[in-house]
Symmetry: C2
Subunit: 261 residues, 2 copies
Amino acid sequence: MNSVKKAEVQVIKVGGKIVEDPTALMHLLDQFKKVPGYKVLVHGGGRSATKIAAQMGVETKMVDGRRVTDESMLQVVTMVYGGLVNKSIVSKLQSVGVNAIGITGADMNLVQAHKRPVQEVDYGFVGDIDKVDVTVLSPLLLQGVVPVIAPLTHDGHGSMLNTNADTIAAEVAKALAADYQVQLVYCFELSGVMRDPEDAATVIPIINKESFEQLVTDEIVVGGMIPKIQNALQAVEAGVDKVRITKAGDLADPQKGTYVV
Amino acid sequence: MNSVKKAEVQVIKVGGKIVEDPTALMHLLDQFKKVPGYKVLVHGGGRSATKIAAQMGVETKMVDGRRVTDESMLQVVTMVYGGLVNKSIVSKLQSVGVNAIGITGADMNLVQAHKRPVQEVDYGFVGDIDKVDVTVLSPLLLQGVVPVIAPLTHDGHGSMLNTNADTIAAEVAKALAADYQVQLVYCFELSGVMRDPEDAATVIPIINKESFEQLVTDEIVVGGMIPKIQNALQAVEAGVDKVRITKAGDLADPQKGTYVV
């Protein structure tokens, strides 16, 4: 064991739903501001791309809840995620005194990916991540600059790629784990993983591999929460110190939410 | 005079016309790659915003050749300049081995501005620059990262602002002059300032304040070139070492173009 204590960094992922609601977004950014220490924000895109695509006459195609990104849609998500959403967050963070920089995976070659091979479905310009180079993030963090990452990567051959924000957050967190003690935080609508989804008092404070299996057997953890926690456990195995699943409004309170360790 | 030699940096501005033509853009980026030393790229937006605005049903209003930026148009230019154009350049630079980072004036609080006061014309969300903080650029340059700046600033109160790329290039160049020996380069369609616009052999290699006045008197420098050179002379007075006006295709050849000193 290395006995030198590493600096702490939080990689915080917020979904598209929060990002596209101006009131929810400002509330989140106020919470984000209060998070102490080094931090990185990763944001989803949400339905704003669908709305703008419709305005532009670009058809949105979804397969199994995932966006098919043809050339026109790649243009839309590059504009909306990398421009509109990202710069809206950055300018709002600047207004509350957080010195943010908005980037994509192409910037400083942070996240290099390849176009997902066509199997049963052709998802188009969707990127599967090859390499995350976080060496470029440390000088920014040391300067007090907060990276705000849009859900876009690039292929190294001149094309942007649409990439899931949860995946980018996890991969950036894992890559940072070489030099930092990393906490990966997923903000979502509920207070955490709950025994009774109707009752915030039933949040499960800590889940590990063993308790997760029991929770699945007991059908307390079901549906989309299963892969979310599997990914969290996988991040922990890859060196991330802990993963926290919490309500956006509780972001600045480390007592709240569910920790996956 | 300070006898310590400052490091050199080139601030290179390219217009929207080049940026929106894929072949011209790749040619420019190949030239840009060959420029030695520290460099910063500032790009215009061009007519791509007009095209996308039309697709979205947002009307483009121009007054005296300048875009009126209402709230819908601000959304469009933020998407197009900050997302589509900026990330297209960044991903293409990455593909030729230039480690670019695409930013706006909001990122790292690089360029703070205020909404232009309404006088005869209400230009809407157009930013007049208050402050350029280039201290954030040096650590990037030292790491070998090349900043690529979109023609957008912010007001410090959460709003992005549409801002002329020539002006951003000049203000960034002036601010960098405190720590660097700065060359500001304007790429445009012609080979430089020419005695005969039809004959590339008549490029005027050097213009200073005195010769400029003579050239205006002799009606060799006319029209839109007058304010361009006035701005260049003003940049030189503000500490920029020299301003070069050149054809994009000649960017990597320092022998070409007109130098304003």
